[in-house]
């Protein structure tokens, strides 16, 4: 190593080259990666490997072939449909809700109330949520009864909580809050001086939203809808409780296959899970891309 002298001719201690210092920095991330490996990737590996095994334990591609048979394609389609519908509808109304408390001039405490409520509601899924809706809109639910007393029998219109539409309606309970929570910062990130600049140039409120605010928000909105899609796709307990398993959703089928309830073909279950993982991974990838775009604009 060359010695370095300063202006007075004194020798200075040797400095390690920057190259070497950078190479070791990732070590700081080791605990995190190791933990994830031990408790997430390793078990997940079972998923991958298991999808290639049949009941006898031999390696096979049969499971993937079976993905295309029976109720499975239909299940994927149904799940995708339900997730898409709740993502879009949940995204739109969630956006409106967030707008109402952040930009709509409502009293400040309503905003805190909505945000905290959303934090709770977005986790309220599963059995309690399903039960709450059954007690409200089910056959003997109090709203059903009230409406019937008023002369309007909702069951005549074909509405059933156990239908696809019913499940979608219930899913909104955690989709709306999720949208509200995630899009709120983006709405706050809409700088006041953009609005003022637009007004200054003569834009009406509609023109401002159409040409400035919504375009700026679009990557965030789309990205969050994708997240909502993934969220709905993975949801299981709620639908199961609501429909008793009569609606074929991918996570429900996976659960029953792996648990050994019905046909007990865990390999098939794993293969389905792989399909699900693929779909989710794509969604998250898309979400990342859109978020980067949004970040860049909102930061400028």
């Amino acid at each position: 190593m060359a010695t370095v002298t300063d202006l007075d001719g004194q020798e200075m201690p040797p400095v390690s080259p920057a190259r070497r210092r950078f190479g070791w920095a990732w070590v700081g991330l080791l605990p995190f990666f190791l933990f994830s490996l031990a408790f997430m990737f390793l078990p997940a590996l079972y998923l991958v490997v298991g999808s290639f095994r049949n009941n006898a334990g031999d390696l096979t591609l049969q499971n993937y072939e079976d993905l295309q048979t029976g109720i499975i394609p239909g299940a994927f389609l149904t799940t995708i449909e339900v997730s898409l519908v709740t993502a879009v509808a949940g995204g739109i109304f969630g956006l409106l809700l967030a707008y109402s408390v952040i930009l709509g001039g409502l009293p400040r405490f309503l905003r805190t109330a909505l945000m905290t409520f959303s934090g709770v509601a977005s986790n309220f899924a599963g059995v309690p949520l399903a039960l709450a809706f059954i007690f409200t809109l089910g056959q003997l639910g109090f709203v059903t009864v009230i409406l019937r007393d008023l002369g309007f029998d909702i069951r005549q219109t074909g509405f059933r909580l156990t239908s696809k539409f019913g499940v979608e309606l219930v899913y909104m309970y955690f989709q709306f809050p999720l949208m509200v929570l995630i899009i709120a910062p983006a709405l706050e990130g809409l700088r006041r001086d953009w609005r003022e600049a637009a007004e200054n140039m003569g834009a009406s409120a509609y023109q401002y939203w159409r040409h400035v605010a919504l375009p700026i928000l679009t990557p965030s909105i789309l990205g969050t809808m994708i997240l909502l899609f993934g969220n709905a796709f993975g949801a299981q307990a709620t639908a199961f409780q609501l429909t008793g398993g009569t609606l074929n959703l991918v996570p429900i089928i996976i659960g029953s296959q792996i648990r050994g309830d019905v046909l007990h073909n865990p390999g098939l279950g794993y293969a389905m899970a792989m399909g699900m993982v693929a779909i989710m991974a794509m969604s998250i990838g898309l979400y990342s891309v859109l978020q980067r775009r949004a970040e860049r604009w909102l930061r400028s």
Binding site: A25, G28, L29, P31, F32, F33, F35, A38, F39, M40, P43, A44, Y46, L47, L96, L97, S100, V101, G105, R108, L110, A113, G119, V120, A121, N123, F124, V127, P128, L129, A132, F133, F135, T136, V143, P177, L178, L181, I182, P185, G189, R192, L227, G234, Q236, A237, T238, G255, I258, R259, G269, Y270, A273, M276, V277, A281, I284, S288, Q291, A294
Partner: protein, 297 residues
């Protein structure tokens, strides 16, 4: 990627100034620009939303008071049932341990990524989002397979299974914790704070403990709180690891055995959770970071 949370609000006008502005004496040309206190459109949306959220809760409540002759019988039963508190207590404890471990892993990691290896940030983010991708039932099965055979056997003992439960929950908490911490770090200038601390002679531990953690208070609270909510409500993993003492399985068991109690229990836990959230919002007032994301299953 920014899954909720952000730094800095837009409005620096005090609320009473806004109210004054909105309720000022108006000249004709001005009317129609903002209609009254708050936007009527905003009110409409809010009321619709509130209806949607509260009606099912009302439904659950009405159902829970169907017991005769004492309409609050269900609630009394719940509060008298030792299993309620045991379940809550157990899950709460598991939750706290989960939070601690998660914080210990996530905070230094997020900090390190921001400061030293920003290039690895996408990888870390991807890993933290993985728990969204893997269905819980698959995760728990995988965990059981891996840790019920040599070299590490955890499923045989209660303590081992509890440990496994905690580790699984830590994994589940990653998306929220990392998101919360990352956003919190973004809104304080981490690099400058660190450099200032270093120039004053602080070592890494001290920097983390005395400089970073305190400034992330709200972010940590909200991440911690969401993790707690998830742990208390979680069912699948707890059941498969035979942790029937947990609150999720308790609730499910209740649903099968008694008609009115589950409604009461879920309302109680909903209420308690909301109160706690409000407490956090209250504590975190004035700080820059915000209440964070949650997801459902």
């Amino acid at each position: 990627m920014s899954l909720g949370g952000g730094g800095g609000g837009t409005s620096s006008i005090p609320p009473w100034a806004v109210m004054r502005y909105i309720t000022r004496r108006r000249r004709p040309e001005e009317r129609g620009r903002r209609g009254g206190i708050g936007n009527p459109f905003a009110w409409l949306i809010f009321v619709l939303g509130a209806l949607y959220f509260f009606v099912p809760l009302v439904g659950a409540f009405l159902h829970s008071i169907r017991t005769r002759p004492d309409i609050f019988l269900a609630y009394r039963q719940v509060l008298d049932d030792p299993k309620f508190f045991l379940g809550l207590g157990y899950s709460f404890t598991i939750g706290v341990v989960t939070i601690l471990i998660s914080l210990l892993i996530i905070v230094p990691t997020a900090y390190w990524v921001r400061l030293k290896v920003p290039r690895l940030r996408p990888f870390v983010e991807f890993v933290t989002l993985m728990p969204f991708v893997i269905p819980p039932v698959v995760l728990v099965f995988g965990l059981i397979r891996v840790y019920s055979s040599r070299p590490i056997v955890l499923t045989a003992t209660d303590f081992g299974s509890d440990l496994l439960l905690v580790c699984a929950y830590v994994i589940l908490s990653f998306p929220y914790m990392y998101r919360a911490v990352d956003t919190g770090l973004a809104s304080i200038d981490v690099r400058t704070l660190t450099e200032a601390a270093q120039s004053l002679g602080a070592g890494w531990t001290r920097i983390l403990l005395r400089v970073i953690f305190p400034n992330l208070r709200t972010a940590l609270l909200s991440g911690a709180f969401l993790t707690l909510a998830i742990v208390i409500g979680e069912y699948t993993i707890a059941v498969f690891l035979a942790r029937t003492a947990a609150f999720g399985p308790y609730l499910s068991l209740l649903g099968r055995s008694q008609p009115y109690t589950p409604a009461a229990v879920s309302l109680i836990s909903f209420g308690l959770t909301w109160l706690a959230m409000l407490a956090i919002a209250f504590l975190g007032r004035g700080a820059q970071t915000r209440v964070q994301v949650a997801g459902a299953r």
